[in-house]
């Protein structure tokens, strides 16, 4: 995949109304783009300078364009970061447009929230596992409308009824007369027809692409080194920079001695900002050497003494006071008063860094009255705004070029790195690529929030739950990232997985207390709210089963009368895992069940705990009902990926603060699961015609409680604070 055109998508911004995704507005947008940001997949077509301003091009909507030469171009509103969206989204359009996947070329959408906002988020962003969910209707409709217009154009030319024609593999055919004509030849005529409304979509039984294991379109370039990520951008005259930001959040640069740094061969310039110092050089080697030679004195500010336990203590205290009621069913207090057994517990989950394999980076070029930014980001309209603010320019003066993402996981929904690059570039003559060291990347991440949860439950005489109480405290990422989404003390992310449970709980009361930690920024992290809530909910459900002396699968199953889809995945996972069959000493199975991101999923984890307390996850069985499956191979890949990501968190993940500083620095102190630790993973997909559910994150939130419950089964020790701590699991000698 190469970046073959330099774009200026913002040079002449278009402001169509939200509903005006018409040919006219798109052609305006395209004309302004002057060819657009072409992320050209070098598949069937040579890299062509597709001229979007071509008046004979057929562009019935913001997603589909067919040029006179027959090139089918799909504009991708979502960005590829490994989740397969550059394949699954084109599958939706191509299915209805009746073209082969190999016939399409992809273009990355320019920043334009009016045209390219994710319908489920309301902003142009790739996250929350909702690309396929958001695109499912509109992108199939985009393809269907285009197909109908092409068929109409052909019918008109042949003077036959449109109903007697059909579309097939990029052509319209008229079977009675055996005539056929390629889409490209119809583009000009189709472009003059009105865009039809409400074209019927295919019945699932007629799907040709959806549900088949399509080969990923982005893969070939990723096995030979030619794929271009943000960090790979190269521009004439470009310099390379790396930086040191205040080790304490909120601190400032007090004094810098850059004599030794300036003496390093290849170092060109030292840029001092309020809260960071950057070294600009001919290459990153010189920049890093220069950075190491800097002597920086910091004014550490008000967070200089902050520790993780300060934050945890504040959260714990917050759960003693009422919060905003996220959900109330029945009368918990009354039910609790009559309970035969009462269970209480508190849970905690730590701050987590994203540790994307591609460290944070952004390339910026600030000129008089203009700014250009090259980056890989999940939310480029946000990047455009942040860069404009940092450059002190109107937003339309900022051009953003998006690239492949070397791991997002939520980190690249943020624009802090772009703002930082622009701040530095303002002092540099020419373009500068700012690359963070791994240490900066981990120590200046924006972290999955620390959470503290206080739960209690009442069981009846049979041991079944009649009261469920949960109050939790932590940061609301939505309140900062998408303020309109935070209302009355609640947001949909912080509470997902804690409310609307699949279980029949006659009396349930859940409260959220928003507490923003001082001196440490928070952000979305793969599986977001559920990364915390599902661990707590499913661990506590396991505690209730244990208190009732019942089997954890049977206990859950008895509560699923209203959730047949949940029951089906639970049964399937239990069956495939051999639930109930004997295991050696020190080995246990744990189950967990969830409905989040609009998908039902059950995991059974099989875990071995050594005498020294070391935990090894041996096997994971996943059963999933994610509705209609678009690309089953991607569904499997995402579940495998999400499980490994979650096990890393369950066994190793913890960011701690001491003296206001993040204590972890690199992969030695912030460890990742490696090849030799990876479990066998089996994925079973339930066939379904329901609308698609999200698949990028669900496996992560669910594996953490499955592992914790398996550790309980193996050792009898309940983990209420993540990550698993070998010291507490060690057997006495």
């Amino acid at each position: 995949m190469i970046l073959d055109r330099v774009a200026s998508p913002a040079a002449k911004p278009v402001q169509p109304s939200a509903n005006d995704i018409s040919r006219r507005s798109f052609l305006q947008a395209s004309a302004a783009a002057g060819g657009g940001l072409m992320l050209s997949l070098r598949l069937p077509f040579p890299v062509a300078a597709a001229d979007a301003a071509d008046s004979d091009a057929f562009a019935p909507n913001a997603f589909v364009r067919i040029d006179r030469d027959g090139q089918v171009i799909l504009t991708m509103p979502y960005v590829e970061m490994g989740q397969g969206t550059y394949t699954s989204i084109p599958m939706l359009i191509a299915e209805e447009l009746e073209v082969e996947l190999s016939q399409v070329r992809l273009e990355h959408a320019p920043p334009n929230e009016k045209l390219y906002a994710n319908p489920l988020l309301g902003v142009q962003a790739t996250g929350n596992s909702n690309a396929v969910r958001g695109a499912w209707q509109p992108l199939r409709q985009a393809g269907a409308a285009a197909r109908a217009m092409l068929v109409s154009a052909a019918a008109k030319r042949w003077n036959v009824e449109p109903a007697s024609c059909r579309a097939l593999s990029g052509e319209v055919v008229h079977p009675p007369t055996d005539r056929r004509i390629r889409y490209g030849e119809l583009a000009a005529e189709a472009a003059r027809l009105p865009v039809p409304e409400g074209v019927a979509l295919k019945q699932p039984k007629n799907f040709k692409l959806i549900g088949t294991p399509a080969k990923r379109l982005d893969t070939p370039a990723k096995v030979n080194g030619s794929a271009v990520y943000g960090i790979d951008v190269r521009l004439p005259g470009m310099k390379f920079a790396t930086l040191a930001q205040s080790p304490v959040f909120g601190g400032r640069v007090k004094r810098v001695d850059d004599t030794a740094a300036k003496a390093v061969k290849g170092v060109r310039q030292i840029v001092r900002l309020d809260d960071a110092v950057a070294v600009v050089a001919d290459h990153m080697g010189a920049a890093k050497k220069g950075l190491a030679a800097l002597a920086i004195e910091w004014d550490e500010g008000s967070h200089a003494k902050l520790t993780t336990s300060d934050i945890a203590g504040e959260l714990e205290r917050a759960t003693l006071k009422p919060g905003a009621v996220a959900q109330n069913i029945g009368d918990v207090d009354k039910a609790m008063a009559g309970a035969a057994i009462k269970v209480e517990a508190t849970y905690q989950v730590p701050f987590l860094a994203h540790a994307t394999m591609e460290p944070m980076n952004c390339t910026a070029h600030v000129r008089s009255g203009a700014c250009e930014v090259w980056v890989g980001n999940q939310a480029i309209a946000r990047v455009q705004r942040a860069a404009a603010e940092a450059a002190d320019l109107p937003v339309e003066k900022v051009v953003v070029h998006n690239h492949l993402i070397g791991g997002g996981f939520g980190r690249r929904l943020e624009a802090d790195g772009a703002a930082r690059a622009v701040e530095i570039a303002k002092h540099v003559d020419g373009p500068v690529k700012v690359v963070w060291t791994r240490e900066e990347d981990i120590q200046h991440d924006m972290y999955r929030p620390y959470w503290f949860d206080r739960l209690s439950a009442g069981l009846d005489q049979k041991g079944m739950p009649i009261a469920w109480n949960n109050r939790f405290a932590g940061s609301s990422v939505i309140a900062r990232w998408l303020p309109p989404g935070f209302n009355n003390g609640l947001d949909p992310d912080s509470t997902e997985g804690a409310i609307d449970l699949v279980y029949d709980l006659p009396n349930l009361h859940v409260e959220y207390v928003r507490v923003e930690p001082p001196g440490i920024p928070t952000a979305f992290w793969r599986s977001v709210g559920p990364s915390h809530n599902v661990f707590v909910t499913e661990s506590f459900m396991d505690e209730l089963a244990a208190a009732a002396r019942q089997d954890p699968v049977a206990y859950r199953r008895a509560l699923l009368g209203k959730s047949p889809r949940a029951r089906a995945v639970l049964d399937l996972a239990a069956e495939k895992s051999g639930w109930g069959q004997p295991l050696p000493a020190g080995v246990g199975r744990g189950v967990a069940l969830q409905f989040v991101f609009a998908s039902y999923m059950a995991h059974v984890a099989e875990v071995e705990v050594a005498k020294d307390g070391a935990v090894r996850v041996r096997r994971v069985v996943c059963a999933v009902d994610c509705g209609t499956v678009v690309n089953p191979d991607t569904v499997r890949a995402q579940i495998q990926s999400a499980i490994i990501f979650g096990i890393t968190a369950a066994l190793h993940g913890e960011i701690t603060l001491k003296d206001g500083r993040v204590q972890q620095t690199n992969f030695d102190t912030y460890q990742m699961l490696r090849m030799n630790e990876a479990p066998a993973i089996e994925v079973y997909i339930v066939s379904s015609l329901e609308p698609p559910g999200g698949m990028g994150e669900a496996g992560t939130s669910l594996i953490v409680p499955a592992v914790a419950n398996a550790i309980f089964a193996a050792t009898g020790k309940r983990l209420r604070k993540m990550p698993a701590d070998a010291a507490t699991l060690r057997q006495p000698i």
Partner: protein, 156 residues
């Protein structure tokens, strides 16, 4: 001082300090961006290249230490029989997700296959556990190495 290094069969002259890691010479001086930066401390394997066929972390390899060794990078690994088999297996099994670590994974796997045409699971663990994949593609990496080994056995 200038150093002459042999990269993918061609001699290249670079004028940098001798302690400059090969990684930055490849990426920033020579513009070969297929080799990736991940940690700078030989902890993640994203920067893996071959020096005389041996998988080597370029982020801690000073350019002044290379002398006449043959450097092979991801851009040229497909020219070797083992590299081509590994790349094919990677595509056949759809190993890749975000792909950022995969240059390094492929370089480590190719060195393994070249030295041990029929690697065992523990050989794979030993050769590949230095390469982190944050997308968690380990299961498919293992399967792809086995498939490439089978292709070797069959002379494919």
């Amino acid at each position: 001082m200038p150093y002459d290094i042999k990269v993918n069969g061609a001699v290249r002259t670079v004028d940098v300090d001798g302690d400059t890691p090969l990684l930055w010479v490849l990426r920033d001086v020579l513009g070969m961006t297929g080799t990736k930066f991940g940690c700078g401390m030989a902890l993640c394997g994203a920067c893996t290249v071959h020096l005389d066929g041996v998988a080597t972390r370029s982020c801690i390899t000073p350019v002044g230490s290379i002398a006449n060794s043959e450097i092979t990078t991801i851009e040229a690994i497909g020219a070797s029989a083992a590299g081509a088999r590994i790349q094919k297996a990677w595509l056949d099994l759809e190993v890749v997700q975000c792909g950022y670590c995969q240059s390094g994974q492929i370089m480590s796997a190719t060195a393994l296959l070249a030295s041990k045409p029929q690697p065992s699971d523990s050989d794979i663990d030993a050769a590949m556990s230095g390469n982190i994949c944050r997308c968690g593609t380990y299961l498919r990496i293992r399967a792809a190495i086995k498939q490439a080994a089978q292709a070797t056995r069959q002379g494919g």
